[in-house]
Amino acid sequence: MADDDRAQDGRAELEDALELPFEPMELQMGPSHPAMHGTVKIVLKLDGETIVGSDVEVGYLHRGFEKEAESSLYYQVFPYTDRLNYSSPMINNVGYALAVEKLFDISVPERGNYVRVIASEVSRMTDHFTCLGAAAMELGAMTAFLYAVEARDQLWDLLDAMCGARVTCNYVRIGGVSHDLGPDFPALAREKLAKAAGLHKDLEDLLLANPVFRERMVGTGVLGPDELIAYGVTGPLLRAAGVPYDVRAAQPYLVYDRLDFDVPIGEHGDNFDRFIVRCEELRQSARMIEQCLAGMPEGPVDVDDAKIRWPGKNRVFNRMEELIAQFKLVTEGMKPPIGEVYQAVEGGNGELGFYLVSDGSGKPYKCRCRSPSFSNTQPLSRMIQGKMLADVVPTFDMINMIGGECDR
């Protein structure tokens, strides 16, 4: 059969008579695969162990975030944003809140902004620890994974102290946060950050000089800066290729313009640089949290406007005006002016943007989430083209595709 086919298309004489007929093998990696965090399928075409073609299929976790948001009041969207990038829910909370506040044209009191920066940076650290630990595990380093997860747990304790939940935070509100930090928070934060830093050091000691780890990471998954930009890739992936684009530095929001931090960049744009950039960002985040703890002023965390942020219980139960405001807010929601805004924040994996269209009612007419995972996953096929099958795992790990955010 195979001989006949080859004779027909006239290639037989070009091929060495001793060479076996080539037919690419199709391998379906996922949607449920131990190395596919979340559910995603990669259809690979293989020549031996070399990838000659691939198609990445996303959408297994599509829950209709945008449709759901369009039928919710503005304040009801927060729990859904928690479930976008579930490794760093606070950043999604903050990004959405900033977009709505931009629509209203309000700004949160100083202390509220500091609290939000702390929340974002703790969340970024948990995101990076998850990514680094999972990457190590999927390359066979189970021990290193446990160190990363232990460090993440320390930081989850911090989130727990902040909002009472470790993963599904729902902490930020339009015009503030659900409640202020407790008086013992700074001491707890310093203790937990010190523990996490120690574990981070151990994690690096275990991995960075390990020949097996280096073999899998150095020089794999490379893509140049121009191509990454054309793909719309942002975050640690782009910075590892030497482009210092970070929303926190380029277009500062909250109080990032007052914090002293570096934007770490890589040189080669390979998986190893992506790992190193994330490691360095962990240190920068800890540095920012420390500055916030030291520089945070006293005062309110919420805007003093009963039409946007509901007043405290003591005011609602004792005063007529506030009671009415509370009732109207809960039933009808806050009503922004007609218009449309786009607000970007630096998420765990890159630029996280919310595009809101308001028709003046209490529900967003359109609530679009520009998710970094979606844009970052797109060039995966390009990164693994012509490479070995084993390179899929570290490359996919460093892309850190989060199903909830990619598929929304």
Binding site: V58, G59, H62, G64, E66, K67, E68, E70, S71, K102, L103, D105, E227, I229, A230, Y231, G232, V233, T234, V243, Y245, A250, Q251, P337, I338, G339, E340, V341, Y342, A344, E351, G353, Y355, V357, S358, D359, G360, S361, K363, Y365, K366, R368, R370, F374, S375, Q378, P379, D407
Partner: protein, 197 residues
């Protein structure tokens, strides 16, 4: 969502202010000077620059935005659409551009009639447009002409309709398999035995 009315673009009193702000915005000014016929209108709201351009000149405008050294919009961040059901034209395709070199942003919009829901694909200019346009096609049914591989990205091929359209009820379910599936049981059995996906 049937009770919600299509929103106006801006209230009359703020429109004049937005127009004057738009005239002084460097990117919008450059765009208006270069393509006086293609830019239908431009405005600034809360510091976001927006230009509405004609569908047939979209590619030309985008090529200029990308290649002009002063503008240098090297990154296409996002493509989406908005369904203004009950308004003519019904749809708007929305592009968010960013320049890594110049650190500025721009929102481009193209208004489309429901019966002529076509817009040129931007994949030749930004390779990243591929998935973003597939998503917009999946969710709104916008046809991107010249797209190399325009198929659904999140939903399955058999899905009927486009779920983010305002006339698609939120409660409507279309399971691919099991009770309530639109595919008759006989077809499913046949597909299973013949090895078809």
């Amino acid at each position: 969502m049937s009770d919600s009315k299509a929103p106006e673009t801006s209230t009359p009193e703020s429109a004049a202010e937005e127009q004057s702000e738009a005239a002084s915005h460097p990117v919008l000014a450059a765009l208006a000077a270069r393509f006086p016929g293609a830019v239908v209108s431009s405005q600034c709201f809360r510091g976001d620059a927006t230009a509405i351009v004609k569908s047939d000149s979209l590619k030309e405008v985008c090529a200029f935005l990308r290649d002009d050294p002063e503008l240098a919009f090297d990154m296409l961040l996002d493509v989406t659409a908005v369904d203004y059901l009950g308004r003519a034209p019904r749809f708007e395709v929305v592009y968010h551009l960013y320049s890594v070199k110049k650190n500025h942003r721009l929102r481009l919009k193209v208004a489309l009639e429901e019966k002529d829901l076509r817009v040129p694909s931007l994949t030749p200019l930004w390779v990243g447009a591929n998935w973003l346009e597939r998503e917009t096609y999946d969710m709104y049914g916008v046809q991107f002409e010249g797209h190399p591989d325009l198929r659904r990205i999140y939903l399955y091929e058999e899905f009927q309709g486009h779920p983010l359209r305002k006339d698609y009820p939120k409660e409507r379910r279309q399971p691919l398999i099991g009770p309530g599936s639109s595919r008759p049981a006989a077809t499913r059995r046949q597909a299973a035995t013949s090895g078809e996906e």
